[in-house]
C-alpha cells in the first residue's frame, strides 16, 4: 500500500527525519515527490496514486485498481462538466453583483467527484466552503449553495436530508465535528463512514490536529480528505508543512495516502478503499488529493499578486476533465453526441442557476430573530418586539 502504516512509521523514525529534511530544502511539490521516490530505494512504488495520466492514458497501480463500466465513466464525466459549469456560472453571477462572493472549485473537480461518488447515501459529509462538486454528488441543489454567497442565509439547508453538513468557513472546525459524528456512528454499531474535507492550509489548524488525535484514539470511522490545492489564499503549501501532508497521518497512528487529485479514477479508487478501511473498524484514514486551485482563492482575491501564470500553465495540462474525455474517446465509450448532450445539459443547469439566483428573495428583516434558540429566549423576544415597533414607526410617519 502506498500508505504510511502505523507500524512503518514507528519502525523508521530515522527515515521520517530524513523526509523532513528533504522537505525543508525543496520548494516545489513535484520536486519533493521525485526526491522522496528516489530515496525509497526499493521496489519503486509511486508516491502518488494515479490510474489515468494527464494525457488520458490508463495505467495501473500495485495497490489500487478500479473497474468502471462505460456508463459509470460517462457519469463521472457528466458530473465534472456540470459541476464546472455551475461553478463558472456562480463566479459570473458574483461579477454581476448577484452573489457577494464565490469560492471556485475550478481544477478540483476530480478530487470532489471521485470522492463524492464513492460514498454511500448513509455516509456523512462535512465540507469546507468549496465542496460544490461533493454537494452535487450528494444531491444538494446547487441553488442551495448559493444562498450564503448571496447573503440571504448562512447555509440554510437541512444537513440530514442529503447527509451533507453545512459549509464551514472557520478553517478546520468541521474536522472535529466529523470525528464526533463518526464516534456516534461507531457507538450506534452502524457501518456508515464519515468524510471530512479540508485544505492544505487547514492542516495547520489546532482543530484539525485534534481531530486526528481523537479519531485515532477512538478508532473513529472517519476519512480526512485533504484537497491539497497548493495554496491557502496566497501561501503555498510549504508555509504549512515540510513533509508531504499525507505523511502526517503516520505520526497520529493511522494510514495516509496521496492520490493524484486530478485523476477522478484514482480518487475514486482510493476513496473506496479508504471507505472499506474505516467501515471495517480499522479507524481513520487520511487522503491527500494532490491538485491545484486554478482560480483565485475567492472572487475577492487577486492571485496575480503572488503566483505566476507559468504554474497555471503546467497544471492546465493536468486538467481532470480533459483527461477523462480522452480516455472515454480512446475507449469508444462516448461519442460526440454524448459530449454535446452533456454540454447542452450544462447550459440548462447554468440557466437554472442564473434564474434561480436572480430571483432568490431577500429575507425579511424580522428573520434575524428567528432560529436563534431551539427553546426560545426572553431577550430575543423582547428585541424582536422592539424592532418590530421601531420598524412600524417608519410606516406610520412616512407612510411606507
Amino acid at each position: 500500500m502506498t500508505v504510511e502504516s502505523t507500524a512503518g512509521a514507528r519502525k523508521a523514525p530515522g527515515a521520517a527525519k530524513k523526509a523532513a529534511a528533504r522537505g525543508s530544502t525543496k520548494t516545489s511539490g513535484s520536486t519533493k515527490t521525485r526526491g522522496a521516490r528516489a530515496a525509497r530505494n526499493a521496489p519503486a512504488k509511486p508516491e502518488i496514486v494515479q490510474l489515468l495520466t494527464p494525457e488520458g492514458k490508463r495505467v495501473s497501480h500495485p495497490e489500487y485498481s478500479i473497474d468502471l463500466t462505460s456508463d459509470e465513466l460517462r457519469g463521472l464525466y457528466r458530473d465534472m462538466v456540470l459541476t464546472r459549469r455551475f461553478d463558472g456560472e456562480a463566479a459570473a453571477l458574483q461579477r454581476q453583483g448577484e452573489l457577494g462572493l464565490w469560492a471556485s472549485l475550478l481544477g478540483q473537480e476530480a478530487a470532489q467527484i471521485g470522492s463524492g461518488r464513492a460514498l454511500r447515501d448513509d455516509d456523512y459529509v462535512f465540507p469546507t466552503y468549496r465542496e460544490h462538486g461533493v454537494a452535487w454528488c450528494r444531491g444538494v441543489d446547487p441553488l442551495n449553495l448559493c444562498g450564503m454567497f448571496r447573503g440571504v442565509n448562512h447555509g440554510g439547508w437541512d444537513p440530514n436530508q442529503n447527509n451533507f453538513h453545512l459549509y464551514t468557513i472557520v478553517i478546520g472546525s468541521q474536522t472535529l465535528h466529523a470525528t464526533g459524528y463518526a464516534m456516534g456512528v461507531q457507538k450506534d454499531g452502524a457501518d456508515s463512514a464519515v468524510i471530512a474535507y479540508f485544505g492544505d492550509g487547514a492542516s495547520s489548524q489546532g482543530d484539525v490536529n485534534e481531530a486526528f488525535t481523537f479519531a485515532a484514539v477512538y478508532n473513529a470511522p472517519v476519512i480526512f480528505f485533504c484537497q491539497n490545492n497548493q495554496w491557502a489564499i496566497s501561501e503555498p503549501t510549504d508555509r504549512q508543512t515540510r513533509v508531504p501532508l499525507y505523511q502526517r497521518a503516520g505520526g497520529f497512528g493511522f494510514p495516509g495516502v496521496r492520490v493524484d487529485g486530478n485523476d477522478v479514477l484514482a480518487v475514486m479508487a482510493v476513496t473506496r478503499a479508504a471507505l472499506e478501511h474505516v467501515r471495517s473498524g480499522n479507524g481513520p484514514m487520511l487522503i491527500e488529493a494532490f491538485t491545484y486551485r486554478m482560480g483565485a482563492h475567492t472572487t475577492s482575491d487577486d492571485p496575480t499578486r503572488y503566483r505566476h501564470d507559468s504554474d497555471l500553465a503546467a497544471w492546465r495540462l493536468k486538467d481532470p476533465i480533459t483527461r477523462l474525455r480522452t480516455h472515454l474517446t480512446d475507449l469508444d465509450a462516448a461519442d460526440q453526441a454524448f459530449f454535446d448532450a452533456v454540454e447542452k445539459e450544462s447550459d440548462a443547469l447554468a440557466k437554472r442557476v442564473r434564474e434561480g439566483v436572480r430571483s432568490m428573495p431577500d429575507p425579511g428583516a424580522m428573520e434575524m430573530f428567528e432560529h436563534i434558540y431551539a427553546d426560545g429566549h426572553a431577550l430575543v423576544d423582547e428585541e424582536r418586539a422592539a424592532f418590530a415597533e421601531y420598524q412600524s414607526s417608519f410606516v406610520d410617519s412616512e407612510g411606507h
Partner: protein, 324 residues
Amino acid sequence: MTAMPIVKAINASLRTALENDPKVVIMGEDVGKLGGVFRVTDGLQKDFGDDRVIDTPLAESGIIGTAIGLALRGYRPVAEIQFDGFIFPAFDQIVTQLAKMHARSLGKVKLPVVVRVPYGGGIGAVEHHSESPEAYFAHTAGLKVVTPANSADAYWMLQQAIQSDDPVLFFEPKARYYDKGEVNADAIPDPLHAARVVAEGSDLTIATYGPLVKVALEAATAAAEDGHSVEVVDLRSLSPLDFDTLQASVERTGRLVVAHEAPVFLGLGAEIAARITERCFYHLQSPVLRVGGFHAPYPPSRLEDEYLPDLDRVLDAVDRALAY
C-alpha cells in the same frame, strides 16, 4: 500633512515601526507577498524581508502563541488576525496567556504584543467576517483595547500601541478602511487611552467608537437641523476607558446615548451606562440609552443594513432620550 485612507495610514505606521525598531516584526496569514487581504501590509515584506514580515501557517492560536514567545525573547510582534471572526481559535492564548503573564511573573515579564483585528460589518461579507468581538477582550484584565476611527488616529494609535509594553488589541474598522483623512507624522498625538470630543453640543452626548463615529457625526448634523445640539465623543480606547472625558461631556449635556455595532447585551454600552449613571446621576435628565447589535448572530449580508445601527437607529435613540 498628507491625506490618506485608514488602510494606508496603518501601512505607513507599520513601516515607521519597522524602520525605527529592529525588534518589530509583523506576522499573520497572507501578510507577506499578498500584503494582507486588505493590503494593510502591502509592500512591507518586499522592503523589510520575510524575517520581519512573516507569513504564518494558517493557525491563529499558533500566531498569538508564537507572538508571545517572540515577545518573551525581546521582540515586539504585531500580529494580524485576518478577520474578527477568526480571532477565536486564538482566544485561549490571548485570554489565558497574553493577558496574564505579566501578572503571573509579578511584573518581570512584559509582553509588548499588538494584535491587529479588522472588525465590524457593512462590507457585504459572508459570515464570520463582520463581527465586533471587542467586549470579550475589554472584559479581560491584562489586555488593552483600542480602536481608531480615522487615518490620523490609525497612524498614531498604532505607533503608541507598538510602543506600549502591554498587550494591545488594535481593532480596525474595516468598513472605514478607505475613508481618507489627514495624517501628520510630525504631530504630537493625543494619549493612546484618551477619548476625544469630535463634535461639540449641549443637549445630548453620543459616545461611540470605530466604525460608528462617522454615523454619530451624521446624527449630530441631522439633529442640528431639528434644533438639537448633539455632542459626539469618540472613545478611541475601550480598555482603559476614559470616563473622565465622558463624564465631563455628560455633565454638560445631561443625556447619553452609547452606540456600537457589537450586541447591546453586556456590550461596552452596559459598562458605560452603569459608570456614567454612578458618576453623573444628578446631571442626567434621561436614562443612558444604547444602540447596537441584537442578541442574534450577525445576519446574512442582505440583512446587515437592518442589523447595524444606522443614522435612523441612532437618531431614534437621540429622540427617545430627548423626550424625557
